[in-house]
């Protein structure tokens, strides 16, 4: 039976050079990120090339994705959040493409590595802090001090709020990473059962029908999870950005 962890292995293709004694290599992870970016670019450039008033299939797909993200930002961060549209749209499309491409057999899923999701989450986290201070100055700190709390427990509550804020990039990144990792391992384990049971002869063939059915069902579920997690990642980004725009209410 194939090792279910093997699919997450990083393979070096070309070593590009060394920075500070560290090897910088073009890996399969980098390749699939490049494929995702190329796919998004192709979709959006191809969709906007002939700009018809009555959109074709590709154009309406691009328009739908634009409206989906624009609605998401408007409903969570308000009108002012629209200045972050390019940021949120890039994150959403990148995570969506990477997740869905990873579901195709023999493809590598970039988001099953926590370094990728943590980088994305920290990017959002620092954007919130920098924009929050730039826009609101020290008023930004007011979001750690809830109003209407008795003065003697205020220090405690403030410490808890600060820790709650600091734990955001952690849960933001772990959620996407854990969902993708768990899904891909489950899929591989159930698919492995088919081969194991099939080797038992005629009785095993009947038994193998069960994991085969499960694998088909799980693939559909994984497609749902891939799209849903891209959505969740993007909407949490919007909610966090909302705090930078409107701290302390």
């Amino acid at each position: 039976m194939d090792d279910p962890i093997h699919q997450f292995e990083i393979v070096k293709y070309v070593t590009l050079g060394h920075i500070g004694g560290r090897e910088i290599a073009f890996t399969n992870s980098a390749l699939f990120m490049a494929i995702a970016v190329a796919g998004i670019s192709l979709l959006l450039i191809g969709a906007t090339s002939n700009r018809s008033l009555v959109p074709g299939r590709l154009q309406s797909l691009a328009e739908m994705s634009y409206e989906f993200v624009a609605d998401m930002i408007n409903s969570t961060a308000g009108r002012e959040g629209m200045r972050f549209f390019p940021f949120v749209f890039s994150i959403f499309m990148f995570v969506l493409f990477v997740n869905v491409i990873g579901l195709i057999p023999y493809m590598f899923t970039v988001t099953t590595h926590i370094i990728i999701t943590a980088t994305l989450a920290l990017m959002v986290f620092f954007t919130v802090i920098i924009y929050g201070f730039w826009r609101n100055g020290l008023h930004f700190l007011k979001m750690f001090v809830p109003s209407g709390i008795p003065i003697y427990i205020l220090p405690l509550v403030t410490v808890i709020e600060v820790m709650s804020f600091l734990s955001r990039p952690l849960s933001h990144s772990v959620r996407l990473f854990a969902n993708m990792l768990a899904g891909h391992i489950t899929l591989k384990v159930f698919a492995g059962f088919i081969g194991l049971l099939g080797a038992w002869g005629a009785l095993g063939w009947f038994g193998a029908v069960l994991p085969l059915g499960l694998t088909v069902a799980l693939t559909a579920l994984e497609l749902l999870v891939a799209v849903l997690q891209a959505y969740v990642f993007a909407i949490l980004t919007c909610i966090y950005l909302n705090d930078a725009i409107h701290p302390g209410h």
Binding site: V145, M163, S164, S167, R168, L170, I239
Partner: protein, 81 residues
């Protein structure tokens, strides 16, 4: 949202709080040599922050001054702006 995804989301919130509490407590112990008190205090505080995150994101309590990490507690978000 499927039950699995929901469970995953809420558990990530709780674990996130506890891990941040651990990191804080450990660093404070390392810097000031207060072992084990920093770890004890900040693990408890981190656990509290984790529970707060979970309750906010599950919509049990109103999204607070930190408007929480939740999807469901978002209704009426615009009229606060």
């Amino acid at each position: 949202m499927s039950g699995f995804a929901r469970g995953m989301r809420l558990s990530a919130e709780l674990v996130g709080g506890v891990v941040i509490g651990f990191i804080f407590g450990w660093l404070i112990d390392r810097l000031f040599g207060t072992s084990p008190w920093g770890l004890i205090v900040f693990l408890l505080l981190g656990f509290t922050a984790g529970v707060l995150n979970v309750m906010r994101s599950a919509g049990v309590i109103r999204p607070g001054p930190l408007s929480g990490a939740g999807g469901e507690g978002m209704h009426g978000r615009q009229d606060r702006n």
